[in-house]
């Protein structure tokens, strides 16, 4: 029996969320006296997979896998899981994980917890995993009753440890002749030159308090100085001040960076639902009664147009002193 981890490559490196998943699997493996097999699609430096705790790395080979089509990936993982006799399969709860983990769970009839935030509690035959529910307002403890288990873990919920050894990646041919997905990719529009918001560790976000899109220069400058991604509230995206993909909140993207700086955002419950997993929240708002302060770790009551330029100067000063 082994624990199987689905991992992905982005920008020539193993994704951070994939390393978190390998770490997660390796902690389960220690408890169950098992081993971790990582599967990966694509070519890159895979040394980090070993360091993260994988004792075997399988590079899946089939031309159909290149487009990350969920139907093909599901079939491929099932083949590997059968051969590896894997009873627990771990994904990152990201775009692919949200599509493939439930699909695989249905295929192999495994109980699934999607979006785990803690390591599982294993006691005899009882296997429990915590996940956020009600948009982060509560945590539910799920018990998985089936012998086969699928877990997808919420990105940026676990620290990464790279203390493992070296592993040689083995090519693994997958047979997908029986499946022909009718999905044809016509166009891919990647957001270029910016940090990918769901992966960002630092995020600077702004709302209606900025009064108009022409005032976003200082937000972008603050983000750039911090090495942060930019985000916005729903009204700002709806008014087309900022692109749709920057909208964080209940109906936008849910993020959990290490630092979320909210500028001129009142903190409606729908907005909080998308950001309340952030480790540290800073709120800058001219209204001292803004509800967002109740969900903040640090608050500045003040006019963004005065505070943000000072903050930019302070970040520059901090960076200069650090080096």
């Amino acid at each position: 029996m082994s624990i199987l981890i689905y991992t992905e490559i982005a920008k020539g490196k193993v994704k951070k969320s994939s390393l978190e998943a390998v770490n997660y699997g390796s902690r389960i493996a220690k408890q169950l006296n098992s081993t971790v097999t990582a599967v990966v699609i694509g070519d890159a430096d895979l040394a980090d997979l070993g360091k993260a705790g994988a004792t075997k790395v399988l590079k899946l080979k089939n031309d159909k896998l290149a487009g990350l089509n969920g139907q093909y990936i599901t079939a491929a993982i099932e083949q590997v899981a059968t051969l590896e006799n894997a009873s627990i399969i771990v994904f990152a709860h990201d775009f692919t994980g949200k599509e493939v983990a439930p699909r695989l769970a249905a295929k192999i009839k495994a109980g699934i917890v999607a979006g785990a935030v803690d390591n599982p509690t294993i006691s005899g035959d009882t296997f429990s995993v915590n996940k956020n529910v009600f948009s982060g307002k509560a945590i539910a403890t799920y018990t998985i009753a089936s012998a086969k288990k699928v877990i997808s873990i919420l990105p940026n919920s676990f620290p990464i440890e790279l203390t493992g050894g070296a592993v040689e990646a083995i090519e693994f041919a997958i047979n997908l002749d029986a499946i022909n997905s009718p999905i044809i990719v016509k166009e891919v529009k990647k957001v270029s030159g910016e940090l990918n918001l769901p992966d960002a560790e630092l995020v600077v976000s702004a709302g209606r308090g900025m009064k108009g899109p022409e005032n976003w220069g200082m937000i972008e400058e603050l983000a750039k100085e911090l090495g942060a991604a930019t985000a916005c509230s729903r009204p700002v995206a709806d008014m087309h001040w900022r692109p749709h993909h920057e909208h964080v909140g209940q109906t936008g993207v849910a993020i959990r960076p290490n630092l979320y700086i909210a500028i001129g955002i009142s903190g409606a419950i729908q907005h909080l639902a998308g950001v309340n997993g952030s480790k540290t929240i800073v709120v800058i708002n001219s209204d001292k009664d803004s509800p967002f302060f109740k969900s903040a770790d640090y608050g500045i009551v003040g006019d963004a147009f005065e505070v943000v330029p000072k903050l930019i100067a302070a970040v520059k000063h901090f960076k200069a002193n650090k080096n």
Binding site: A10, G70, F95, T96, E99, A101, P102, R103, A106, K109, G111, I112, A114, G115, K131, F134, K137, A138, I139, T141, Y142, T143, A145, S146, P182, I183, I184, V185, K186, E187, V188, K189, N196, P198, E201, H244, Q250, T251, G252, L259, I269, A273, N276, K279, T280, I281, V282, K294, D297, Y298, G299, I300, V301, G302, E306, K310, L311, A314, H317, F318
Partner: protein, 246 residues
């Protein structure tokens, strides 16, 4: 075109979440239930727009007990033609998907749509599971959907951007913000919803692979530490030394 829209019954976003004394169950007392916004605003409304433009039928399906019928009637009031309720507690994603798949497998739906996730359990699972159980293609997080001569053109969110795909029907998709705008049911819709067919079918023996053993309320942030607006340097200092995030 025959379209099936899966709807969930969820507590309204602004609900104060509470649990039973033993923390084993969600306390529904005084809770206002609504159609899951992703199912309603995006999946159902886009399904209705396609039907209005091209003809066809929109069926809503819900897995749940009789107390969710008000939510189903609202879906009919917005414009769905008929509804199906499968009489089972929807407390395991696989069980829900299995029930819907068992109903839909011989009905020749061209499109099966669901919201990207419920705002209650945030699982984002049933759509993908349905696709697998019915051996259909699945497109997640769709923000635009057009159908021409049996081929769907879908724009959807992917890692770091968006992608446009084409797919012959039938298919399963999950709807994200952007697909359509919210519709408020009018009086005619509300009146006609009372007489539209709502078929209740018994649960098939569904497997329950997971269960919730307990709930805990998330611990909110207790104290906001205020920093003087004239001195943002101290914020940077605190983020570095105390929060250790920069």
């Amino acid at each position: 075109m025959k379209i099936l829209v899966c709807i969930s019954n969820v507590p309204d976003t602004t609900t104060k979440i509470a649990f039973s004394a033993d923390n084993a169950n969600f306390n529904t007392a005084g809770v206002q239930f609504v159609i899951n916004p992703y199912d309603e605003w995006y999946a159902l409304v886009r399904a209705l727009e396609l039907k209005e433009a091209q003809g066809g039928n929109v069926t809503i399906i819900h897995v749940g007990a009789a107390d969710s019928e008000a939510t189903i009637r609202k879906g009919l009031a917005i414009g769905a033609d008929d509804a199906v309720r499968i009489d089972a507690e929807p407390n395991d994603a696989y069980a829900v998907a299995e029930q819907i798949a068992a109903y839909a497998k011989d009905k020749d739906f061209d499109l099966i749509m669901a919201g990207k996730e419920t705002i209650s359990y945030n699982g984002s699972m049933v759509g993908a599971m349905l696709a697998e159980l019915m051996n259909l293609p699945y497109v997640s997080l769709a923000t635009k959907l057009e159908v021409t001569s049996g081929v769907a053109t879908i724009e959807h969110d992917i890692d770091g951007g968006t992608e446009v795909v084409e797919c012959t029907l039938p298919l399963v998709l999950s709807a994200n913000k952007g697909m359509a705008e919210q519709r408020i049911p009018n009086m005619k819709g509300i009146m006609s919803a009372r007489t539209k067919p709502l078929t209740v079918i018994p649960a098939t023996s569904a497997d329950k692979l997971t269960s919730i053993s307990s709930y805990t309320l998330s611990v909110g942030r207790i104290d906001c530490k205020y920093i003087d607006a004239s001195n943002p340097e101290s914020l940077i200092e605190l983020l570095h030394t105390q929060a250790k995030v920069i």
